[in-house]
């Protein structure tokens, strides 16, 4: 089975004492630029193509949120690349300002465990920057790893998966879309209330209210369940990057692993030609219906006026994967884990999975509070607690209180998370980027996901980083840039 390279980009919510959304771009720029650790500020934008669509065309322009446009009236934040304030970190990650949100994009990883660990390390990077920024500004700064402000603004947690271009759009869309609709049952972060449609007390997904189309290339407005942006971050003749925007930011590493593992299963099945053929008649409505029904009673409408439910869809993928794929240990573990959770959920015992799924942990603490204090779902405190579940400060956040109390298992010790500061141990292309930035930074002219451009003896030499190979560990033994480039097979 092919190793699927993957990464996660998280846009964090930013609350600065005495400041508002109109100041958010300036604040996010200052926060990112104030990161106190080592970094390189020479991101290479040449290969970015946010308007390209996997279906073979280019959008003339991307839609923008009209409310955000009003925030920017009469303001000039500077050149777009200055606004982004890109930093390349010594572990190969990218840290930047994305529309007023500090965004941490993990180094690319092959395994689910390593990716989830790097995702968690990202919280530490953002928190360090927030502390520096707060001290410099003399203001309290809070950071939230969530996806909504409860007033109709959402910001994303995106996943990227390397997929062969030869697979094509249609099989990928057909295999992945049903999985995106149902996986929230086992991975959602949970949300009090709704921001579109009829009121609901609590739903599984933070993002469901914001999808309006089944598929398109937009990310800021008119958001789709299946994003068709074709920005491949590698050789476009060979690869596409599946850009998933419908997932929630997870506090639990187990949810992060499950979220990514389920999409990997769908991709593997698409490549094998054996993906279950669910033909959803309305993926947007199905996504929203599943989000609002944690008992798995939501009917998912199919073409031909038939219907199914989340349990049947998930189980069909597991059965197909076991039948046709040579699953590795991680994906076998994901299937077993999901089946355990589905058994509990199908028996109505969602409270027993509160240590394993974010929405269940959140719902449990909220219901407990309501029972103790006599509050109700529409009380202002409920949304405040929802927000504070995602506060990444270890001393303040409600999720971190659950870990502190042992209600949610601690996956890695602080020391194990900190190991992610020095790179990816799997030998992905992020390993090479990390070495270049940490050991040969004076020779790195620019870098991006796809390549590094070195400056050696006055010449610029671009080195393409292959996304599907494991680079050898002995690269770290190179003591000068010439040896490093020789080991990478660069002819000079």
């Amino acid at each position: 089975m092919r190793r699927i390279l993957a990464g996660i980009e998280t846009e964090y919510g930013l609350l600065v004492e005495g400041r508002g959304a109109e100041d958010q771009i300036d604040d996010a720029m200052a926060l990112v630029r104030g990161y106190p650790g080592e970094r390189l500020s020479t991101w290479d934008y040449r290969y970015e193509s946010p308007r390209a669509d996997l279906r073979g065309f280019q959008l003339e322009r991307l839609a923008v949120d009209p409310v955000d446009e009003k925030f920017d009236e009469g303001r000039n934040h500077g050149a777009p690349t200055d606004v982004r304030s890109d930093q390349i970190l010594p572990n190969g990650a990218r840290f930047y300002n994305d529309h007023g949100h500090p965004e941490y994009a993990t180094p690319e990883c092959f395994t689910l465990g390593e990716l989830a660990r790097h995702d968690q390390y990202g919280e530490s990077v953002v928190m360090q920057s927030a502390r520096s920024f707060g001290e410099a500004a003399g203001k309290q700064v809070r950071i939230y790893k969530n996806n909504t402000d409860f007033h109709g603004a959402t910001y994303g947690t995106h996943e990227s998966y390397l997929v062969p271009r030869a697979l094509g759009f249609a099989p990928l869309f057909a295999a992945v879309t049903p999985m995106l609709v149902v996986r929230q049952l086992l991975t959602g972060a949970g949300k009090v209330g709704s921001e579109s449609g009829a009121w609901c007390d609590f739903q599984l997904s933070q993002r469901a209210d914001f999808f309006t189309e089944a598929a398109n290339a937009e990310t800021l407005y008119r958001r789709p369940v299946f994003n068709t942006r074709d920005e491949c971050h590698s050789d476009p003749s060979e690869w596409i990057r599946l850009h998933v925007i419908s997932g929630d930011a997870n506090m639990m590493p187990s949810c992060t692993m499950r979220k990514v593992g389920l999409v990997k299963l769908a991709i593997h099945l698409a490549e094998s030609g054996e993906a279950p053929e669910w033909k959803l008649n309305d993926p947007v409505r199905a996504f929203q219906d599943v989000s609002r029904n944690m008992e798995m009673k939501a009917r998912i409408g199919l073409e031909g006026r038939n219907w199914t439910n989340a349990y049947e869809v998930l189980e069909s993928y597991f059965a197909a994967a076991e039948r046709v794929l040579h699953l590795d240990d991680e994906l076998c573990g994901i299937i077993a884990d999901c089946r355990e959770l589905l058994e509990s959920l199908s028996s109505g015992d969602w409270q027993s999975v509160r240590g394993r799924i974010d929405w269940a942990a959140k719902r449990h603490l909220l219901e407990h509070y309501m029972a103790e204090e006599g509050d109700n779902w529409k009380g202002a405190s409920m949304r405040a607690f929802d927000l504070e579940y995602h506060n990444i400060d270890l001393e303040e956040g409600l999720f971190h209180a659950l870990v502190h109390m042992g209600d949610v298992p601690e996956f890695w010790s602080p020391g194990e998370i900190e190991e992610c500061s020095v790179g990816n141990k799997e030998g992905t292309r992020a390993f090479v980027r990390a070495l270049a930035v940490s050991k040969f930074r004076d020779h790195v002219h620019t870098a991006c996901w796809r390549s590094i451009t070195f400056k050696v003896d006055g010449k610029l030499i671009e080195v393409e980083l292959k996304p599907d190979i494991m680079y050898p560990g002995h690269l770290k033994d190179a003591n000068d840039v010439g040896t490093f480039m020789n080991l990478l097979g660069v002819e000079r």
């Binding site: 994305d98 409860f150 069909s316 089946r339 355990e340 058994e343 405040a384 504070e388 209180a401």
Partner: protein, 59 residues
Amino acid sequence: MMDGDRITKPVSPGTKRLGEDGGPSAPDIKRPDGGNELLKRMKKVDPDQAKKYRQRSGE
């Protein structure tokens, strides 16, 4: 309208392998006490925190 049949294919019910290793335990319903870290933190939360929280739309 979804007035057709509930579709479960291509699932084979016999392939399910559910909770063989015991599964999750029963919910913990004990009342939090004064040392409960969660309760301590919840009491410090400004009830209007989410009302004040306004963000730009992201990607």
